[in-house]
Structures are given as structure tokens and as C-alpha cells.
């Protein structure tokens, strides 16, 4: 990393021939290639929508514009929190960066939960699967690939959040690896349990069942969720100096570039795949 009189210039690195930090250049190159990947998937979907097969299902009767609009809003807000996390670490404000990353993880998890719910509805209620229609094949391939990118982004955010607790000289500290391995597992567990609990609650409300039956039937899941949240708070308490600061801003920024890219891909998918079907 470049350093001038104790401060870091986050947009210029004189140690590289391009003046751009290598990690940032790597990420922009990857994102350029990912553009072509998503371009191919979006093209395929649009081509088959312009030439639908006989007896193709109508997307208008399958899609839920309310749910997708909500997902879009959530992803936009997650992008805001990611940008604030990058700004925070560039100022050396570790606490603010952690809160911003946690909020981004929260929004990303909501998006994933919405996508799981949407896929479940399409398969079980609307009877559209990845194999029974061309619309299903291109739709699930495209949105599923995007969802996988979001899931990878959430995992990366979790790893970066836990990395921000790394103590100095962690290389010789076995206890740190165990502690932070548990920390990562606890956060992933909390996200999965929160998503499945919420989906179960929505299903209960849809079917008009008693809420008491929901709490009784999902007691273990809810108790596990509370235990994961409590363990996450316990593991996140301040525990001495950490080996993470302004010098790591480029790592957070690279992660942020990936997260924003996932957002811009969704901006295109939202218009090309969903909104245009309603005209």
C-alpha cells in the first residue's frame, strides 16, 4: 500500500506502473469479464422471450412485481451501506465500518430470502421449473446465477467482518483461528435460520394457521437463531488491538466493487426480465 506522511491515498498507488492498486485492477478486470458472462445470460433470456415456444407460460401471471420491487429497493440500500463501509475504513473508523458491513449482510440476506421465496412460489404454486419450460430454464439460470453472486458477496462480507477482529500476530495464534471459525459459522447459521424461520412464518400466515402452532413447530429453529445471535454479539465484543485499519481499505473497496457490480446487474435484470413483461 502507498503511504505518504502517515496517510494513504486510496485512489493512487505509486508503487504500481499503472498507479492503480493491483487488487483494484484485478477486481475491475474480473468485473469486465463478468459483464460478458451476464450479457450472454441476459441475451439468451431475451431471445427466448422474443421467440416464445408454443404453450409457453405467461410471465405476467407468474412474476410478482411487488416482491421484486422490494428486493430491488433492498439491494440498492445495501449498496449505500457498502459505500459507507468503504468510506468508514478509508477514514480508519473501524466501528462504523463493521456496522455498515453488518447492515449490508442483513440487506443481502433479505434479498436472498426473497429470492428463495420467489423460487419456491414459482416451483410449488406456479408450477414453473427449470426443466418444464424454456422460460423456466432461462429465468432460473439467469436469476440463479445472480443469486449465487449475491450469496458469494454475503460470504465475502462475513469473512471481511470477522477478519476485522484479527489480533496482531495472529499467524502464531491457533486460538484465533478456532474463535473466528466459530464466529463465521455463527453468522452463517444466524442468516440461514433467519431466512428459513421467516419463510416458515410467511407460509403459516398464508395458510391461515395459528401463530402458536408456528412457534411450537419451529421452537428449535427459533432457539437456534437466538443462540446464534447471542454468540455473534459475544464474539464481536472488543478484545484488544486488532490488525485491521486504514491500510486494509483496498480490501474492503475491492469487496465493495464486487457488491456494487451485483447491484448493477440486478438493475439490468429488473428492467429486462421483470418490468418489460408488464407492457
Amino acid at each position: 500500500m502507498s503511504s505518504h506522511a502517515g496517510t494513504i491515498d486510496h485512489h493512487h498507488d505509486p508503487s504500481t506502473s499503472t498507479g492503480i492498486p493491483n487488487k483494484k485492477l484485478l477486481m475491475w478486470t474480473f468485473l469486465a469479464s463478468d459483464c460478458m458472462f451476464f450479457g450472454a445470460l441476459i441475451s439468451t433470456h431475451l431471445i427466448y422471450r422474443l421467440h416464445p415456444m408454443p404453450d409457453a407460460p405467461s410471465p405476467k401471471n407468474i412474476f410478482s412485481i411487488e416482491l421484486t420491487s422490494f428486493s430491488t429497493f433492498i439491494l440498492l440500500m445495501s449498496s449505500l451501506m457498502m459505500a459507507l463501509a468503504v468510506t468508514a475504513i478509508q477514514k480508519g473508523n473501524l466501528k462504523s465500518m463493521r456496522w455498515s458491513i453488518l447492515t449490508t449482510i442483513f440487506f443481502g440476506s433479505i434479498f436472498l430470502g426473497c429470492q428463495v421465496y420467489e423460487f419456491q412460489e414459482f416451483i410449488e404454486v406456479k408450477k414453473m421449473t427449470i426443466t418444464n419450460s424454456m422460460l423456466g430454464t432461462t429465468f432460473f439460470t439467469l436469476t440463479g446465477t445472480h443469486g449465487t453472486h449475491v450469496a458469494i458477496g454475503v460470504l465475502w462480507l462475513i469473512l471481511m467482518y470477522v477478519r476485522s477482529f484479527q489480533p496482531p500476530e495472529a499467524g502464531r495464534n491457533t486460538a484465533w483461528f478456532i474463535r473466528h471459525g466459530v464466529h463465521i459459522a455463527v453468522i452463517i447459521g444466524a442468516i440461514l435460520l433467519a431466512i428459513f424461520s421467516t419463510l416458515a412464518l410467511v407460509h403459516t400466515l398464508h395458510t391461515g394457521e395459528n401463530l402458536g402452532a408456528f412457534f411450537g413447530g419451529h421452537f428449535a429453529m427459533l432457539a437456534g437463531l437466538l443462540a446464534c445471535i447471542a454468540a455473534g454479539i459475544f464474539l464481536a465484543r472488543p478484545n484488544g488491538p486488532v490488525n485491521f485499519g486504514e491500510a486494509n481499505a483496498i480490501d474492503v473497496e475491492s469487496m465493495g466493487l464486487y457488491w456494487h457490480f451485483v447491484d448493477i446487474v440486478w438493475i439490468v435484470i429488473f428492467t429486462a426480465v421483470y418490468l418489460l413483461e408488464y407492457l
Partner: protein, 112 residues
């Protein structure tokens, strides 16, 4: 697009960060409003081509705001912008070419 990366004094850095925070929040609100306009737009009784054009323009505006502000291209070296736009232009060109190919009469499926 990109501003030269000068090293500013600490007080200016603070002011710059404050303004960046405000810029990010304002852009996020603008993006949310544009999304709302897009959703309302599909129900408006205008010609289809007008609505499609508006949706494409609004999506491009959202896309550009995210890459130039949230992804810092506005403040980074132009090489990052060039690098990303190479991929973007190739992807857009491929999409356009495929759509043109498959819209040609010769590509329509033969009647069974």
C-alpha cells in the same frame, strides 16, 4: 471522469468525507425514486415504445450513478473506467448482435 489524486490536508479530508457521505445518501434516495418511477411507469397508458425507451434510459441512469459514484470511477484513474467499459461494450455488443440475428426472418423456427 476522474479527478487527479491530490493529497489534501486533514481538515479538507474531513470536509470531503462529509460531502461524500451526503452524496452517497442523496444518490441512494435518487436511485430509490427512479426505481419507484420505473414501477409506476409500466402502468401508464402511453405507447409501448415510449415506456420501453424511458425504462432503458432510467436503468442506464441508475447504472451510471452506481458505477461512477458508489464504485468510485469518478475519483479513480481513467484506466479503471476504460477497463470496465471494454467488458461492458463487448457484452452490450454481443447482446445487440444476438438480438439482431434472432430477429431476422431466417432465424424464425420452421412450422412443424
Amino acid at each position: 471522469m476522474s479527478a487527479p489524486a491530490h493529497h489534501a490536508p486533514a481538515a479538507d479530508d474531513h470536509g470531503h468525507d462529509e460531502s461524500k457521505f451526503q452524496i452517497y445518501v442523496q444518490i441512494a434516495m435518487l436511485l430509490a425514486v427512479i426505481t419507484g418511477v420505473e414501477i409506476v411507469g409500466i402502468y401508464l397508458p402511453f405507447a409501448k415504445w415510449i415506456i420501453v425507451t424511458c425504462l432503458v434510459v432510467l436503468s442506464v441512469v441508475k447504472f451510471m450513478y452506481v458505477i461512477f459514484y458508489f464504485m468510485h470511477l469518478r475519483w479513480d484513474k481513467p484506466f479503471c473506467t476504460i477497463m470496465f467499459f471494454i467488458g461492458l461494450v463487448l457484452a452490450s455488443g454481443t447482446t445487440w448482435a444476438l438480438l439482431q440475428l434472432f430477429m431476422a426472418d431466417a432465424s424464425l423456427p420452421l412450422p412443424v
